[in-house]
Every structure is written in C-alpha cells, then in structure tokens.
Amino acid sequence: MAGAYASLASEATGTVPAAVESDHVPHFQETFSQPGHGGQGGQGIPGPNQAWQGYFNVLSYRPYFNVDTVDVTDRIKDSLKVDVGFVEKTSQNPDMYGPFWICSTLVFVTASLGNLAAYLSYKSKTTGGHWHYDINLMSSAALVFYGYVGLVPLALYFLLRYLGVTSGVFQLWCLYGYSLFVFIPASFLSVVPWEIVRWLVVGAASFMSAIFVGGNIRTQIRTANDRWLAIVIGTVATHLALGLVLKFYFFTYFQHDAL
C-alpha cells in the first residue's frame, strides 16, 4: 500500500491520495487512479521538474496519444459491445485521440445529416418553403458535443474528489469520448423519414451509451463510497438527457422547414 502511494505521489495530475482511507479497494486504486504512463516519449503532464510550463508544451501531452490504430479500433468495439470493464483495460493508457476525433466526427455527421434530411423533407413536400443550408447546426453541434465531453467528466472528477474517491480525469475523458461513438451510426440511421424509427434508433443508442458509462463508473466506485448508486444514476441520467437533446435538436428534421 505504501508503495502504491509513493508511485501515486510522484505523478502530478489525475491522482489524489484518498482522503478517506479505503483499504478494501486495492484494484480500484490501481486501475482508476494510475495516470497514463504512456510508452516512448514525454512524461505525464507536467513533469516533476517542469512545473506549470509543462501544461503549455505540446509534447508533454504525448503519453495520452500513445495508441496504435488497432488500439483505437479495439476500444471502439468495446464501446459498441457495452463492455463494463473498459476503464480497467484502458487505465494504464488512457488516450485522448479517440474522444477528440469521435467528437469531431459527430459534430460533422450530425450537422451535415441534419441538413441533408431537412433538404430531403423539403424536396418531398409540394407546398412551399425555402431550404437553405443551416450553418448554425454545425456551431451548435460543436458546442454540444465538445462541451459535453469536455465538461461532464471534469465535473464528475471534481465531484468524486469531493466525496473522497480517487479517480483519474483522463480515464473519465477517455470513457465519455468512446461512449459517444454509438451515436455516429445512429445519426446515419436517423435520416430515415419515419419518426418511430428515429425514436427507436436514438433511444437505443442513448441507452447503450448510458449503460456503458454507468456500468464502468459503477465498477470503479462501487466499493469506494456509500453513495455510489446516486452517482451512477446521475451519470446515466445526464447521458440520457444528451440523447434527448440530440433527438429534439438534430434529429427532428421537420422543424427546420419553418426557418
């Protein structure tokens, strides 16, 4: 235990020695709280002799991009299979590549498919209305997705810290980022003009995603705090809320005729 604490204290971020001594969770402290050690190149941010300047140096973030193509595709497959051991698998090497580019892909896909479906519904109607490409979809999509994946894990990290549970912010970002992948095929399927199909598809995707996130967090904090159930329910609820927002703003295309 003392050895584990020594290694924890030598890294700067993402690790807080638990305020409450939890001696019955050895696996939790090893998986959730280890910062990404990465492989070649770079130290975790910031290195011990770099102080605050390390945050502004691009190379100090390299350990968080230490993934190969096969790693990324495996993690995506895990998210689609709703694998609740995801955080355990990625705790040694959380990556930021997946979350960032999945978010960017989602921004593009929802914005363009939203416009495409609005165009199709405009063409299929015989009554008037003028269709124009709605550029606001792209900027609001960026706000929604980057904001969600950026801020919700951070809030969760601070909440857990407040409750005395050790967690790693990069592992949480990794988890939330990969959980959004399932919305990409859902967006493609939502171009179909039947409301019931859209509700089913978006609902299924939201549930898969929410269970992925909730299951992983439950696995990690179940033994660390008495209020774990409330936290897990909270995360699942926020994820379902995201699905609702997506459905109403992006996937309800007929509304855009009024613009």
Partner: protein, 267 residues
Amino acid sequence: MSGIDRMNLNTSSQSDIDEIESLFNISVQPATLEVPQSVPPARKPSSPPTIPVSAPLLPPSSVSSSSQAFSTPAPAGPTLSTGFGGGPQYNTLTEPVWETLKRDLVRVSNNLKDVVLPNPYREDPGKALRDWDLWGPFFFIIFLALTLSYSASENKSKVFAVVFATLSAGAIVLTLNVQLLGGSIIFFQSLSVLGYCLFPLDVSALVCQVNNTKLFRSLVVLVALAWSSWAAYPFVSTAVPSSRKALAVYPVLLLYITVGFLVLANN
C-alpha cells in the same frame, strides 16, 4: 563637399546604409575600408533610381564598425535558405514592389505544383516543400471562405466565419495531431502543405458557382475531394510510425470531407 549630393544607385539591391557608407568612403577615402561596390548585382537591372543623399553625419569609428559588419559579401544568388523556409539574404527593402510580389507569386506557384501535381519527391517528407510559405494557404483559405459566403443565401457572415475557423483551426489541430501521435514534422511546413492541398476544393467551389444541379456539383466535389486527399496523404502518412498511419490520415480526410460537404450544400 556640398551638403546635398545626388548619387546613382548601384543597380543591385543595396541597403540604404551601404549607400550612405559608400558616400562616406568617397568623401573620406580611408584605404582600409572595403567599398561595397564589390557586392555583385543579384537581379537584372531595373531603371536606376536616384535619391538625394545628405552628407554623412556619423563619426568615423561607428561607420567603420558598421561597415565591417556590412562588408561580408551578399550571396550571388537570391535563394539561399534562411529562416521561414527559404528566402533571400540581402536586404530587399529598396527593390520595386513588383519584384517582391513576383517573387512571392513564383514561390506560391512552385509550391502549388510540388504539392498538388504528381512529382517524384512526394514520398520524401524531407524534400517535399522545402521552400514552404504561408501566403498560399492564406489566400486559398480566404478565397474558399469568401466563395462559400458569397453564394450562401442566408447568414453570409456566419458562413464565412465558420468556414474560416474550421479550416484554420483544423489545419493547426491536424498538425498537432501528427505531433502528438509521435510523428516529427515542422509545424509551419505542415500548415503550408495542408493549406496548399485546399486548392482543388477552391477550384470546385468556383466551378460550382457556374452550375447549380446537384449531380454536377456532387461529381465536381467528389473529384476535388479525391484530388485533395491524394495530395495530402503522402505527407501525413510518412510522418508518423506505420502502425498509426490511419490515425493520422483519417482526420485529414474528415476535414476535407467537411469542407467538401459545405461546398456541395451551398446554394
């Protein structure tokens, strides 16, 4: 010696200090100083301008020290590499404006040919785009944003803002992506390559103004996309380890597809 003197400039691009110094040398005539007429002309002579030159007021010691610094001979050719991907070493302050513009335009067209057209050095990142510059990418991004904004029927200024922000932030993010994945590329050189690869999309945006049918637009944008991706692929893929090639190339494709879709959907 009269107060105001007139002197014909040497037809090479001498600096102003060289001219003052040569005047001083003529008036004082110390034997040890090198006369700057030893600088060979670097470009073909334009019509010799004349400028009024007042008598030098500098004390001899400071002039001699500065002339020591300036008497290192300027290079014979105009293309020694300095910083910023290459550029002339001699002072270009007094050359005609057309010369400056022409030099930059020639460089932009050379870089464009290197990047966008088939060339045997494409696979070698060390040789590709040695003489990179940022004017070309700047013009292409602005042109694309202007074209899309002009042909948008609503929210013109927002379209311009979104396209410009997407392209410029996208180029920076793509470069950072390659660096973070463990690749080694020069930041501005990569920005330059990604900007030059926008040229086919610029052409397609222009062509799409002509004809508004969806089929024609789709074909044109598809061809332009394929061309852009083909141009950008070797540079990005050779910069990262081979096990991460797809990770580096996919975001480039995503960016160009995003822009292509904006071109396609504009009405």
